[in-house]
Amino acid sequence: MATLWFVLLALMITVYVVLDGFDLGVGALHRILARSDEEREQAASAIGPVWNGNEVWLIASGGVLFLAFPAAYAAAFSGLYLGLILVLWLLIGRGLGLELRHQLDNPLWRAACDTVFWLSSAILAFVLGVALGNVVRGVPLRRDGYFHLPLFDILNAYAVLVGVVALVVLAAHGATFLAARATGALAQRARRYARRLWWGELVLVCGLAAPTYDVRPQMLTAFGDHPWRLVFPALMVVALAAGFVWQRAGRWRLAFLASCALIAGLLSSAAAGLYPNVLPAREHQPFGLTIHNAASGDHALGVAVAWWSIGIVLAAGYFVVAYRLFMRDSRA
């Protein structure tokens, strides 16, 4: 049962990054790609109606982590305290920057909102990567199940590297989204950036393997022990290749799908490498939190599968309604 919840949690986080990833990416490139007021308006309204729904996947993932693995939730959020609070402030800044830019018809107001939205999206993409990097690297968990990482230890070399990967991958995701959705000069520029960022993705994703082996050999050896799990990194490779081909062919919607698959491949590989750890300790340290010692009771996990399935089917229905509506008519 705890294994099932590990999979569901990984699934929800993946959906979060795939969906909110493109609006984070559009945000991270906002003032770089969109150079005039009209272009920024176009970029903002491409994600305006859907970003909030995308971000709900983060809230729901947090809720599921709390529900299924409360010990890991408590340890991670308190131990990475300043990092987490920073995420909260950035989420506030980004949401308000995007939502309030239409509220006043004044160029200075819009410029201020756009800048807040741009910078907080970019830093947020980086910080989310840093958080993942710290989880993969492991944290100095103590016997009592908690740890404390000062801000500069949160920003260790490996985590910063994963942060940069996250920023580049999400920026490429956002650029590909705009390449498929936008029109005019904005679309041209987005396509150019998407092609360039692809090389960044290639270098960084390949370059991530060695440092990952260095901090946690299990991340790679897990695939040797369970060869079927190689489907996840394989998905990553195929998605990268497909992205390259479709970008060159000018099939931007397909290229965007490839970008979604790349993110799914990255995160599912990370989850497959971590399993059964939810929040591992540092390499060779004993007090890691796994699905065995961090999970809620059996009744809690069992009954939650039932309502979760119903809720997610409903949510998927709402998303189909909303996306069909918005994706259809802003293309027209």
């Binding site: 599921v64 308190s78 609070i85 949401g95 309030l100 009771g297 809720g311 909303a322 509506l325």
Partner: protein, 464 residues
Amino acid sequence: MTVDRLQFTLTVTFHYLFPVLTMGLALFVAWLKTVSYLGREQHRPAPLRKTDEERRTYDGAAQFFAKIFAVTFAVGVVSGIPLEFQFGTNWAAFSNFAGGVIGQTLAMEGVFAFFAESAFIGVFLAGRSRVGERLHWISALMVFAGSWISGFFIIATNAWMQHPVAYSLHQGRAQLDSLGKLLTNPWLPWQYAHNMSGAAVTGAFALAGLGAFYTLLGRHARFARVCLSVGVVGALVFSTLQIFPTGDRHARMVARYQPSSFAAMEALFQTEKGAPLVIIGNPNTEKRRLESAIEMPHALSFLTSQRWNTELRGLNDIPTDQWPDSVPLVYYAYHIMVGLGTILLVVALLAALLLWRGRLLRSRPMLWTLMLTVPFTYVANIAGWTVAETGRQPWVVFGLMRTHAGASPASVVPAGTGIFTILGFAGLYLLIGIVYVLLIVRIVARGPGEGAIPADAAGALTAA
């Protein structure tokens, strides 16, 4: 621990200012949309029997309040996200202890409420011209349902902290025994009804107050009339429900399960048969008595148990280490809430009387009163939550876990870090608060009308 409490007090209080309005407005926007969508002159029950002209005004009003709703909702969302994460950052020990139980309700809120709310708010705000008449109406209903379901799961979580049920302890952690029993916690229905009716009171007075404002200025007459009639009727209905039965039953629940909290609410020090109901008075915790009091003899015992001479336990018979840490705060918050609730009911009653006699639009004193009442509904709501949360002290989970034991260990989150983030939140929220007020003032100053009633409204309505 003090730092963590201060921080949570700050963030949750600021946050609640927004959902109290969105939950209240969602109800009335859904009502306005329903009238404009379903209303016909014939073959309809009385509240829906409207002319095309009236339905257009209702629709315009829904559009206008959607603008206020949109800004409030955005601030509510972004200020709400920190709360779920603060359980982990600042209250790690509590999360670790209680996550096996309240993780359920918090995750259910995300899955059942937030997805619906976020998807349909996008559809609703996109506007009728883009989504069609029927989907626009449905999305108004879904936003209403989403926000009230969200409230339900938050209250279900709080109800467990107030009156823990359906759990057992394993290795120092609470584990859920039955989801059914968690959701049928006897504490839950009355707290939920009381809270939501409080939100509806704010929504209703916001409508009535705005209608009064435009009427006093002599602007937007038709719009103002709809706001006044819907708002005043709503205010009367929900101010009444607020006191009876919801407030009454909720207070009895507190008396039964949290005698320490109940005694603090009434500043009842002596255990008494036939305890009085305190109208005003100043509690003196050093001398353990109530000074300068005006009381209604025996009334408290009667309200609690329907018998004039029931014995109620006073604080003197409760060990001081189980007293709420500030008895006067609980007492004053409770009396402010009850006092304002009573005044709001009187205002709503008088306004409804004038509305019924057709004199409301000409009664300037009443219009002024309605307009000035709006902020006090917020005070009453916040005071109510203050009673619930400070009355529960010194427990974070009543009778099970003390608040100081629930905070993140100091070795994990040093107090200095907490102080830094309080300052950060305070600054950020001050800025957001100012921007919010400016934007709302601007929306109100512009008034309804601009784009609110499209030229094809008549056609669209008859076609639907």
